[in-house]
């Protein structure tokens, strides 16, 4: 269904969402089925249908509440909401956009810093190694987040089970990966403009 509301063209958060992802918040009729089925709803400050509602109404201050929300970060991208939505609103895609947008606008919820650290460490691993380097990921994440090694007790067992590799598995064409990161970053900034 085409969404041809004014929200598509204006520079509201809902408008930018629609432009970047094709997700139109006007499609939502607020039945709450997404919230009802969300495994993380109880951890969220604004549940999925609540976020959609804030974006639909879009009064002063509502956008900031969405951008500074904790919810997009606890979203597991399990896709349950989208699979069951009677109006086929792609909420996971919306959450992706909101995460990227709140990082771009430096409005990330303070409680979500851990998540950002983890994701950035993960991407760093891919950036320099080409693949996920689990040891590096944990080390980097702990360093970034200043968390104690909550999983430290697991390590010897995992090592014994042959599940831990100390050294990263480097791919050959790391230059290509590096370029991808550079270009994707640029494309993102351009898209944001």
């Amino acid at each position: 269904m085409s969404a041809t509301t004014h929200a598509d063209n204006d520079n509201t958060l809902a408008g930018r969402l629609s432009l970047a992802t094709g997700v139109s918040v006007t499609r939502c009729y607020q039945c709450g089925k997404c919230t009802a089925g969300c495994p993380m709803a109880e951890e969220m400050d604004y549940t999925p249908s609540h976020i959609l509602r804030l974006l639909q109404v879009g009064l002063d201050g509502f956008e900031d509440r969405v951008l500074k929300a904790y919810s997009p970060w606890v979203c597991l991208t399990c896709e349950m909401c989208y699979a069951r939505c009677p109006q086929e609103v792609d909420i996971p895609k919306m959450m992706d956009f909101l995460r990227a947008e709140s990082v771009r606008l430096k409005k990330v919820n303070p409680r979500a810093k851990d998540f950002v650290s983890l994701h950035q460490t993960f991407l760093d691993s891919i950036h320099y190694v080409g693949r996920l380097y689990e040891v590096g990921l944990i080390a980097g994440y702990k360093a970034r987040s200043w968390h104690l090694f909550q999983d430290v007790l697991m390590a010897p067992r995992l090592y014994l089970k042959g599940k831990l590799r100390l050294f990263p598995h480097l791919i050959k064409n790391r230059k290509n990966i590096s370029q991808i990161f550079k270009k994707a970053g640029t494309a993102r900034t351009e898209a944001a403009k």
């Binding site: 995460r99 994701h119 891919i126 996920l132 007790l153 390590a155 590799r165 270009k183």
Partner: protein, 313 residues
């Protein structure tokens, strides 16, 4: 032997190497030669799409592009999370010529979208004839088949089975002699993507899943996703704490279950690597006692071995 492109993904080289091992162990007898995608990279997982949409398409697109150089039409992706990223990128690139042009520019290599990612259940279902007559030790257990999120959702993109009550894995385990139980958490999320950052929450979600499987009388949970497996297996102590229970039900990969039915051994299938002890194959006492020592000393049969040191995960 039929050649098929193979994208193991990062987990299968590390924390879920038994998935890779067991897949390789059954692929041979099934008549398949797994050809790794050359110089493959990480799909970007949830971190890429969480922070950078372009990257979440570009990283899988590079993999698809490299797979195309093998001249194949399909690529087996056993990891459900990688599969989700790859099938999404494949879908988005096919939907919009403009997106494809942009992504091709970013990855600096052609990507026609000619290689379709295939998940493990699609692969096994399609080729069930090549293992069902090799069942020598029927896996006659009552099992709960756990599909998790990413194999069935979003249905518009995966176009695989019934999203609320999938049957593919149930049918597969019945072919090898198991009884697939009717249970209620087949497609609920276990929370694996927060396994590192929100371990306590994940314990709660997973406890419901394991609890329901146990209540329905399952002897084992069979999975097709390394994230689910690691989460339900490695995080068992958190899960048991959250549930106030002492669940000992093993969580095994579908490939391991099939391998067991083919009469393959514990080490060939990597069953010794599980944190929650797996008592299959049920052998004489002598074998079972030798197991722990043998496990630590055994050289890993994985294709790529790296020096290993103690670290935490």
């Amino acid at each position: 032997m039929t050649k098929i492109a193979y994208y193991p993904g990062c987990s299968l080289l590390g924390s879920s190497r038994e998935y890779d091992e067991s897949l390789r162990a059954i692929a041979g007898p099934m008549g398949f030669d797994l050809v790794q995608v050359p110089d493959w990279n990480c799909c970007g997982a949830s971190s890429a799409h969480s922070l950078n949409h372009e990257l979440s398409l570009a990283l899988p697109a590079r993999i698809l592009a490299l797979a195309e150089t093998l001249g194949v039409e399909e690529m087996l992706v056993p990891c459900a999370a990688c599969y989700s990223r790859l099938v999404t990128a494949h879908h988005d690139l096919a939907e919009s010529a403009e997106t494809r042009e942009r992504i091709v520019e970013i990855i600096g290599m052609p990507c026609q979208g000619t290689v379709k990612p295939l998940n493990i259940l699609e692969f096994l279902d399609r080729h069930s004839d090549s293992f069902k007559d090799k069942v020598t030790a029927p896996f006659d257990k009552d099992v709960a088949c756990y599909y998790g999120c990413l194999l069935v959702r979003p249905p518009k993109i995966t176009k695989f089975d019934r999203p609320e009550d999938p049957r593919t894995m149930d049918n597969l385990v019945e072919l090898i002699g198991a009884k697939a139980l009717d249970w209620d958490f087949k497609v609920e999320c276990c929370g694996a993507s927060h396994s590192i950052s929100k371990t306590d929450l994940v314990g709660k979600l997973s406890a419901k899943i394991i609890g329901n499987a146990v209540k329905k009388g399952a002897q084992a949970i069979v999975v097709a996703c390394p994230m689910c497996q690691s989460n339900l297996d490695m995080r068992r102590s958190f899960i048991n704490k959250a549930a106030g229970q002492n669940y000992t039900i093993p969580v095994i990969f579908i490939t391991q279950a099939i391998g067991l039915a083919m009469g393959l051994g514990e080490k060939e299938l990597g069953l010794h690597r599980h944190i929650v002890k797996v008592k299959y194959p049920e052998k004489k006492k002598v074998d079972a006692e030798v197991k722990p020592k043998a496990a630590a000393a055994a050289p890993a049969p994985a294709p790529v071995t790296q020096p290993e040191q103690t670290e935490e995960a």
